[in-house]
Amino acid sequence: MRPWEQDPILAVDRLSMRFGGLVAVSDVSFRVGRGQVTAVIGPNGAGKTTVFNCITGFYKPSAGRLALSHGAAPSPSELDALTRTGRAAARTRKGGVFLLERLPDHKVASAARVGRTFQNIRLFSGMTVLENLLVAQHMGLTETGLLSPAALLNLPSWRRREAAAVERAKTWLERIHLIHRADDPAGDLPYGDQRRLEIARAMCAQPVLLCLDEPAAGLNPRESAALNELLLSIRDADATSVLLIEHDMSVVMGISDHVVVLEYGRKIADGTPEEVRTDPRVIAAYLGVEEDAVEAIEAEVGV
């Protein structure tokens, strides 16, 4: 059994997404390994971002199941039992299971603890760098998502919690080398810094699964190498699983443990970076040739 199948943090089963007559994603299943970096790749329009949007609650899928587990993955029979009850979440012996397609979007973030970034930068550009990181800890700071009574009275318990939130934000600012810009508006940062700040903000919500949509887009090679390092440290030091969409093959091949390839909304390959790199269907998809012409191409490029 492959490592990502032994203990998947996220099990995507037969996911489909239709927009009117357009089928953006059709019957896609894959596993995201716990504590691994998983990359979703594919040509433009393959449905990568749609899969992401379904996982993070942006879209409600037309069909399919997205089971995220805390602790350890449930057995297939446990999962089916939960699916039949119609509930969105359940406690298991090992932790908890969340059926993401049934959760409202803010619950995907706050209860299932899935974080994400976007292709385009979506920082709160008018707020300061520090405030951006504190918003991500909103649920941890307020019991009800509103104003905590402890906050109004400025009780010691509240001050402790707020200090902890600021402390976590500072730790992250140090990790991404932006501590000196903490009180500047986020929109004033250079592009590469904004990218890293987005990742830090997502991490401040303490996700178990971090979904990154093209984190290396627009980065120069040096920034891209720093990103690789950051993502590996997230995987290793923060015990957060990472799922990413990426076009930059140096990032994909450099840090992924597992690669899933989509084309025209279907999964065409799934394996380690080496396996995927040499898969004829993947080469065909990327080079845009028919499958029977692949052998000739392979011979030509020497794989």
Partner: protein, 305 residues
Amino acid sequence: MDIFLQQLINGLTLGSIYGLIAIGYTMVFGIIGMVNFAHGDVFMVGTFTALIAFLLLTTLLGITSIFLVLAIVLVVAMAFTGLVSWAIERVAYRPLRGSFRLAPMISAIGMSILLSNFVQVAQGPRNKALPPILPDVIVVWDSGSYAVTLAYKQILIMVVTAVLLFAFWWLVQKTALGRAQRACEQDRKMAALLGVDVDRTISLTFVIGAALAAVAGVLYLTYYGVVNFADGFVPGVKAFTAAVLGGIGSLPGAVLGGLLIGLIETFWSAYFSIEYKDVAAFSILAITLVFMPQGLLGRPEVEKV
């Protein structure tokens, strides 16, 4: 000079009331991009609630301390008006949030008509009056022919407004709730993905806006002493003008706009003609929209290409 000083005092008093109402317009616009046309009538409901509460407290319960009465009236009006506004948002706006842009706006106009008509039927169409509250004045400056006065209730209005604006500023700038609110204002979807409950934050925005309008209602009632069902409209539209003048979406802009509209109105009445004071105030709306659509303190819309 003496008339000028007197009008300045009057203008700032009136402007405080407009500013408090304008915050509700600007906050709601900031967070969901909609002009809440029912907000003026929410203010009127707040004024009526204050009137009823005031009469109940003074005649039925016989409380004589005016400050105690005003404090209770303030709390009751804020709570009840907040509840009304929460219910309006829940019933008439939230279900339309995914709909086309005009839908909640039309719904808001409907809610405005509903509120004023309900109050007209329930409370009668005539002016409701209150015995004068805090009638004393302080003579600030006496030139012999003209005495500049500052009424106790004007002091009350300015002090209450200042205290509330400070509390409100603290709420928005320093608390987790305010942070969530500002985040929703900038990018609702992203805020949701970070775990902020956007629907609840929007509800609370409506409640806070309505509570401030209720405070304005209490102050309006102490100042003028009368209210009728149609009184939501003109102050409401003037507060909206104030929000646009200050830059819609900007909180300090709403306050600044409110004070300016109050001053323009009183100075116009004093130096030109009292009949045309509303014409003056609303001309400002047209002039602002034509020449400075982003208002005094608003951020200009930058279109990225």
